[in-house]
């Protein structure tokens, strides 16, 4: 059965399809909670259909389907208006009766009778979970008329508290990606789930010999239950887990140190001293949202207690390194020696460490001094310090870090150990993958089922996965796109996006979150658990595959210990009451009283869990493991740090916070979000330190051939400050050749070039993320890199001025300076008394303002993507970024200071400053940008004719001009689906108009309306712009300046508050809190 249709499937449709008018309030809806839940049969007659030919399954209809969108709709994509939609719907409903017998026992609502709880145009919010590599991000999804449009953190969940990260913000675009796979393919030809089921009957027989399952890490209870069932039915089958971003070292390190699998949770809010051994825990850690929040909480100079101090030792300047008080650039392979030097110094300070360790020899004097200083600081803060090692570092370094933490008394205080044995993974995934590939190559695997993941792309090049893969007879791949692995699969199964399907997963702390579908699968995709259930059913004579709803409810019952019979598990909850406001906050007795009596205890618990986005009592228990004896191999003498010899170079593979393991490659929002450090978009590049580049005669944008262990890759160079001498870095997740029209799709659309370069080609089976003995050879060619800052054309005068101005724009001071002169930031720029040509504005009741704490900003860029999602900010593509036409309303400015080999760094989110004396407003000839009574610089798109004078006169250059119709692609029938993701509250701007940050005026207005209806004042913190909402470190605070007790008013009263470019007398409403660092006197020269 092929279902593209949808229109009238009122009973289970949670949103309309790409073919319906996405804005139609008539889009039929059912509570998503109730969606997809009833068992379905695959009989055509039981489905609603669009036409008789569909019902009959005629060849014409199938052919029309294969064109992705029938000519009637696709070719007149913009012509499907509401009336047309209603016609189709009406006809379908009328014909529905013809299918006769029975249908899903859900409620059918046409929108002529709105669902009880539904107000058209009013958003609803649903808690859910977004799992990546076995760790769930707790999320809250905004849904308009059952169309999810935005994903944020779940404020109720301790791992999020409402904050989120860049990929969570970006995932909504992936749901509506027109390049998603739309149907099952068998040998590349269109097929169906039924055909797959028939195939499964044949393929999954007997004891499972010759069958292998390859999955990514997961913590999903229902997945693990389904896997357990399959393992029982196919005992001989091989199960391998493999993640593109390896955390093998973390697992093995914990195993070595404690003798059992243990998950480490840093409690950074309690930490006074932090030592990061090549760990970018603020940027690339599964728990980095929580870590960022806790870290920032301990770095507020005003809170009365000591600010934490952070030391970072790393090869590549990471977000964490940028936030460090002291950073030591060191090759990744020398970090182990450094860790040992710290241990030695700790021993000398009288800290008793278990076991022995080899001497760290040959360290430079300054490295030794750094290690000793750090050790002294750690020893002075026993029980209040943290040592953490990066996932790229070998297991030994992790073990050393654990040993230090335990010896320093940090366990239970600043570091918790969680017992995650329920979901713990194979410690050495790389080895088990290598074994699987070996048996595949030998022809021992007849059927390989890959559930998610893309090993053809992201398995290390040395393993030659693709060659072995070709020798497998049945290659089954569940994937949401026809990616590299699917292209050569014999069975491609189209996966449902996580927003389309039931599921469950555990957050980093172990709490289970039920993942709710927000919309009916747009392309009839299935989740991994549903596919496993199909396979499971195929092993039995009369097996029946279960749907996700039942599987997840069953796992939920097991987790909570609540009994439920099969009928309960499979029954959809009735839509008799409002899901959103159903379970009132407060006492559970009151909540229970409101629930209809027909709910049993199981359903009550279920609904509560769905509402909260957390299943109570499921977090991992904290344990206190003791350190085991472990041995550490001898340390290679570190190479001289002042030289970079070709052939002895080190190459690190780092995780790009946007692309991950490559799965986000086709996400244009993420491709276009500039990397915080490099400001690079649309590509990755070989990062080389300035001195290394000089030593090797490498230049920006020059292509070089990298060779290591016989593997080669040609990449462009980007000279990047802070990169350790002799160490090169290359981001993973780029160079996809079958990602889609955004990330690269070599065969399907030749004009879409591949974004970036595939680092996996160079990777070996090392479990560490770096490799030595690398050679570079310039090829003489050049490659244009689209950075969003003036990176390549800067003269000495410009550099000097940038340095000079950087200090005025991002004002920094140390804790000592701050204590000594709290308002130092206000005095950094001197100017005479300012007089205005114009009368000052008079404001009414409210004056909106914003304060941004530069001490807290880590540059994670979640705000940038959050703003993009909230405000329908268009993507412009690499060519336009090269022309400096990126449209982001908020950008993170990053300024380096001092030594290019180890610079100091400042991050500054820059958005419209909503000046009171706004230069933009004075020069607009048509009055398209005007001052509101609440102090906003309102932008009237309808009125703008696009003189761009406002942009010229804006000293912050935060205005963005639509040089083209950047939404042009929406006219393409293939992209019709993308319209669904636009925020209906925000105008989609036409070409030729100026746009800019509005402080999320739509949110302000909505809250004002609510407050007015309720006849109450707006509460402080009730209005949160998208950037502030996403910010994990709470660096961005918005509120009413006329209320002296509001948070933002209080922040603005702090002595370190300052206005950027105050000397221009433009009176910005956005101000910044100076960046305060806490350096160690012993290391400050």
């Amino acid at each position: 059965m092929k279902t593209v249709t949808i229109v009238a499937k009122a009973d289970e449709t949670t949103a309309d399809s790409p073919m319906t008018d996405d804005r139609s309030p008539m889009a039929d809806g059912q509570l998503p909670i109730a969606a997809n839940e009833a068992p379905k049969t695959d009989d055509r007659a039981n489905q609603f259909w669009r036409s008789m030919s569909e019902l009959e399954g005629t060849a014409e209809f199938d052919a029309a389907l294969a064109r992705e969108f029938g000519t009637d709709v696709g070719d007149k994509s913009s012509g499907v208006n509401r009336r047309h939609f209603v016609q189709i719907m009406g006809a379908s409903l009328a014909l529905a009766g013809a299918s006769g017998c029975r249908w899903d026992k859900d409620n059918i609502h046409s929108f002529t009778r709105s669902p009880q709880s539904h107000t058209p145009g009013k958003p609803k919010y649903f808690a859910s979970a977004y799992e990546t590599d076995g760790v769930a991000q707790p999320v809250m999804v905004t849904s308009y008329d059952y169309r999810p449009i935005k994903v944020d953190g779940n404020p109720k969940h301790p791992m999020s508290l409402g904050a989120s990260d860049i990929t969570t913000q970006g995932t909504i675009l992936e749901l509506y990606d027109p390049d998603r796979s739309k149907r099952v393919l068998a040998d590349g030809k269109e097929s169906s789930w039924d055909a797959f089921k028939a195939f499964a009957k044949q393929a999954f027989k007997g004891n499972g010999a010759g069958i292998a399952f390859l999955t990514g890490s997961t913590s999903s209870p229902s997945f693990l239950a389904a896997a357990a069932e399959l393992k029982q039915k196919l005992p001989q089958a091989t199960w391998v887990t493999f993640d593109g971003i390896s955390r093998d070292n973390v697992r093995q390190g914990a195993l070595a140190a404690f003798g059992k699998p243990v998950r480490t949770m840093l409690e950074l809010a309690n930490a006074r001293v932090i030592l990061s051994l090549d760990d970018d825990f603020l940027g690339a850690h599964p728990a980095h949202v929580k870590y960022s929040r806790d870290w920032a909480a301990a770095r507020r100079p005003e809170q009365g207690h000591d600010m934490s101090r952070m030391y970072v030792v790393e090869s590549r300047l990471s977000n964490t390194g940028g936030c460090a008080d002291h950073r030591l650039p060191l090759r990744s392979r020398d970090v182990k020696g450094f860790a040992l030097a710290v241990e030695q110094a700790l021993r000398q300070s009288g800290v008793s460490l278990e076991g022995t360790s080899p001497q760290a020899a040959g360290l430079d004097a300054d490295v030794t001094k750094f290690a000793q200083t750090v050790a002294r600081d750690l020893a002075a803060h026993k029980g209040a310090c943290v040592v953490t090692a990066g996932a790229g570092q070998p297991a030994e370094v992790h073990a050393i870090a654990h040993r230090m933490n335990v010896a320093l008394g940090n366990a239970g205080k600043t570091v918790s150990y969680l017992d995650h044995s329920d979901v713990s993974q194979e410690p050495n995934q790389m080895m088990s993958l290598a074994r699987l590939i070996d048996s595949m190559g030998k022809g021992q695997v007849e059927t390989l089922v890959i559930l998610g993941g893309n090993p053809v792309y992201n398995a290390p090049g040395a393993l030659q996965f693709a060659q072995a893969y070709a020798k497998v007879k049945n290659r089954v791949h569940l994937s949401d796109a026809i990616d590299e692995t699917s292209k050569t699969a014999t069975w491609h199964l189209n996966a449902a996006h996580w927003l389309e399907t039931w599921g469950d997963s555990r957050a980093y702390d172990g709490t289970v979150i039920v993942q709710q579908p927000m919309i009916r699968p747009l392309y009839d995709g299935k989740s991994a658990i549903e596919v496993m259930s199909m396979i499971s059913a195929a092993t039995e004579e009369n097996g029946v595959a279960e749907n996700g709803y039942t599987l997840v409810r069953r796992a939920f019952g097991k987790l909570t210990g609540l009994a439920a019979d099969d009928k309960t598990l499979t029954t959809a909850l009735s839509d008799d009451y409002d899901s959103q406001g159903a379970i009132p906050e407060g006492s559970s007795a009151a909540a229970d009283a409101k629930l209809p009596v027909l709910f049993g205890s199981f359903d009550r618990a279920w609904r509560q869990s769905l509402f909260d986005g957390v299943v109570n009592g499921t977090s991992f228990s904290k344990i206190s493991p003791s350190i085991q004896q472990f041995s550490i191999s001898a340390v290679d003498a570190p190479a001289a740090r002042t030289q970079a010899a070709n052939g002895e170079l080190e190459l690190t593979f780092y995780v790009d916070s946007r692309m991950g393991d490559g799965r986000h490659s086709n996400n244009a929002w993420l491709q276009e979000t500039p990397d915080f450090m490099t400001k690079l978009t649309w590509d990755n590049a070989l990062l080389v330190g300035p001195a290394t580049a000089k030593a090797l005669s490498l230049e920006d944008e020059g292509m070089v051939k990298l060779s290591v262990n016989g593997r080669e890759l040609t990449v462009p160079v980007l000279v990047q400050p802070g990169q350790a001498m002799g160490s090169l870095a290359l981001a993973m997740g780029y160079g996809r050749t079958a990602a889609g029209r955004v990330g690269g799709w070599m065969e399907r659309e030749l004009d879409h070039t591949v974004a970036g370069f595939d680092a996996n080609v160079l990777r070996g089976t090392e479990t560490v993320a770096f490799v030595a003995g690398v050679k570079v050879a310039a090829t003489g060619e050049t490659f244009k890199l689209a950075t969003t800052v003036d990176h390549f054309l800067i003269d000495q005068g410009g550099i000097a001025e940038r340095e000079r101005r950087g200090g005025e724009i991002i004002r920094m001071g140390t804790v000592e300076e701050y204590t000594h002169e709290p308002d130092f930031a206000k005095h950094m720029v001197h100017h005479p008394p300012l007089e205005s040509l114009f009368n000052e504005w008079e404001y009414g009741q409210r004056r909106w303002g914003m304060a941004i704490d530069l001490t807290s900003c880590t540059g994670c860029s979640a705000c940038v993507v959050a703003c993009t999602a909230e405000n329908n900010v268009p993507v412009v593509g690499k060519e336009q970024v090269l022309r400096n036409r990126e449209m982001h309303w908020i950008r993170i400015d990053r300024y380096f200071r001092g030594d290019p080999e180890n610079p100091q760094l400042g991050a500054q989110p820059m958005l419209c400053q909503q000046c009171e004396n706004a230069p933009c407003e004075q020069v607009c000839p048509v009055g398209a940008t005007i001052h509101s009574s609440e102090g906003l610089n309102d932008m009237v798109y309808n009125r703008c004719i696009g003189t761009r004078y406002c942009s010229n006169n804006c000293p912050y250059k935060v205005r963005r001009f639509n040089y083209f119709n950047f939404h042009e692609d929406l006219k393409d029938g293939r992209n019709e689906v993308k319209k669904m993701m636009n925020n209906p509250e925000v105008t989609v701007r036409f070409r030729g108009v100026m746009e800019k940050c509005t402080y999320c005026v739509q949110r302000i207005q909505n809250t004002k309306i609510v407050a007015k209806n309720e006849k109450r004042p707006i509460k402080d913190g009730e209005i949160v712009p998208a950037c502030a909402q996403a910010c994990a470190t709470d660096a961005i605070v918005f509120g009413d300046l006329s209320d002296p007790s509001s948070r933002v008013s209080k922040l603005k009263k702090l002595p370190r508050n300052y206005d950027v470019l105050a000397e221009l007398n433009i009176k910005p409403r956005t101000s910044y809190l100076a960046k305060i660092t806490n350096p160690n006197g012993g290391l400050v020269s």
Partner: protein
């Protein structure tokens, strides 16, 4: 020391002899000869040079029209403009062409009021050039806006949307200033041409030409009453146009001066822009006059002395412009504002140093050659130098617009602007349009003010205030400045 004979003066009217005035014409043409010389241009079959020139120019104009079509179809993004350089060649071209348009009014109105009779042979030319330059200029602000079809919102037109322009914006002042200037210039030019159009009408052989010229001649008969009213009105229009010479470019300069951007925000701009405009306008008049007088054999009407006088004005205004360049640096330094200082050092030594030094070489250094009489009376030298001045003045506008924008307050938004093919084609195309109009003017309209010309001829004063004879008549109406 009346060493110079009249014959010598007639051969070379650039000789300065304090005892006598240099003749305005360098031969003893009769009234009929002058009429024939000028009207003949319009009546004769166009020479091959005209055909070639017109062909090339028309291709250029066509290219401009196509580019504008493409621009409006696709969006302003077909240019290289971006953030932070939101204005680039579009506004550069606008200011450049408006500047060119200054010479016309100056010559026809200011010199008229000052009784500078040597203007008579070049004013028609200069006025035509003004109008065509203003047409070229007016195109750019009209199409540079993102939604060109709504550009009319810039005008204060009462409408059902109750929209009204925002009067604090210098762009709006621009609309009024350029609009007024264009209107006045066209009226002034056309009005001055009426007697000559009547001459062409009377001489026309073909019916079409006769009707055409007749319509525009407005029934001119040359009666005393006509002449009386004509001269009154001409004087009034000249008085009306004179302040515009100062106002237009002052207002255009407000686009920059009123903004708060370092490099733009400076009070020197209005006088500096006016001087620059006259500078570029005169250079353009020369650039056009030199080939035109050769092709149409008008050397005796547009004499070397005219050219020399204009070169002197170029020298003077070039020095003013040079002074302004120096003062900008001085004020930036004297202000003590580091952003101002950087804006100017960056101009001279930043990534656009080449544009800055092209500008200085062309605008400050090249006019210095006009100190030497030999050079300022040499046709090849002055032609080359005038073209340099034109180039230099285009670069001046480029330097002001782009180098100030490309590195403004926050280094995070610094960037380097590069033009696209469309930018280049539109600049060339604007010259194409300008020359197309100019060639049409050469062919169909009296390119020298015939009637006015005759008033300065000796014959007009044969029985006048002096004792007769060509020499004394020439004495009374001379090309030199008083």
């Amino acid at each position: 020391m009346s060493a110079v004979s009249h014959a010598e003066m007639m051969r070379d009217n650039t000789i300065d002899d304090p005892t006598q005035r240099a003749p305005l014409l360098t031969d003893d043409s009769s009234f009929g000869d002058v009429t024939q010389a000028v009207a003949g241009v319009a009546e004769a079959k166009p020479p091959i040079g005209w055909l070639l020139g017109f062909g090339v120019a028309a291709c250029g104009a066509l290219m401009l029209v196509s580019c504008i079509g493409w621009l409006i179809w696709m969006g302003v993004g077909v240019w290289g403009n971006m953030t932070p350089v939101a204005w680039a060649w579009d506004i550069t071209n606008f200011v450049f062409w408006v500047g060119i348009g200054h010479a016309g009014t100056l010559i026809s109105a200011v010199l008229f009021l000052m009784r500078q009779k040597w203007r008579m042979s070049i004013n028609r030319f200069a006025e035509a050039m003004t109008i065509f330059a203003v047409i070229c200029a007016a195109i750019f602000p009209g199409i540079h806006v993102g939604r060109a079809w709504l550009a009319y919102w810039l005008f204060p037109i009462p409408n059902q949307m109750q929209m009204w322009p925002q009067f604090r914006s210098p762009l709006l002042w621009d609309v009024f200033a350029v609009g007024t200037y264009a209107t006045t210039s066209i009226v002034f030019w056309y009005f001055g041409m009426i007697p000559d159009l009547a001459t062409l009408r009377d001489r026309a052989k073909s019916k079409v030409a006769k009707i055409g010229y007749a319509i525009f001649a407005l029934g001119w008969t040359g009666s005393a009453r006509h002449w009386h009213r004509y001269e009154r009105a001409y004087l009034l229009l000249a008085g009306l146009a004179t302040p515009l010479v100062l106002s237009v470019h002052s207002v255009v300069s407000f686009d920059f001066a009123v903004a708060q951007l370092p490099g733009w925000h400076t009070t020197i701009f209005p006088p500096y822009f006016v001087a620059g405009a006259i500078f570029s306008g005169f250079a353009m008049v020369n650039t056009l006059a030199i080939p035109a007088r050769a092709i149409f054999k008008l050397e005796h009407l547009i004499t070397m002395r005219h050219l020399e006088n204009m070169n002197k004005v170029i020298l003077a205004t070039g020095m003013m412009v040079g002074y302004a360049y120096a003062m900008e640096f001085f004020t930036a330094w004297y202000s003590g504002n580091p952003q101002e200082v950087f804006a100017f050092t960056n101009r001279a030594f930043g990534p656009y140093w080449w544009a800055y030094w092209t500008m200085v070489s062309c605008n400050v250094i090249s006019p210095q050659f006009f100190w030497f009489k030999k050079l300022r009376t040499s046709i090849p030298v002055m032609f080359v130098l005038c073209i340099f001045v034109n180039i230099g003045m285009w670069f001046e506008r480029f330097v002001i617009t782009v180098t100030s924008l490309h590195r403004d307050a926050l280094p995070s938004s610094w960037a380097y602007y590069q033009p696209t093919h469309i930018d280049i084609m539109m600049l060339i195309g604007s010259f194409g349009l300008f020359f197309t109009l100019f060639f049409l003017f050469l062919k169909f309209l009296p390119i020298i003010a015939i009637a006015e010309m005759k008033t300065v001829m000796p014959q007009a004063h044969a029985h006048g205030d002096h004792h007769g004879g060509p020499a004394t008549a020439a004495h009374a109406h001379t090309a030199g400045s008083h």
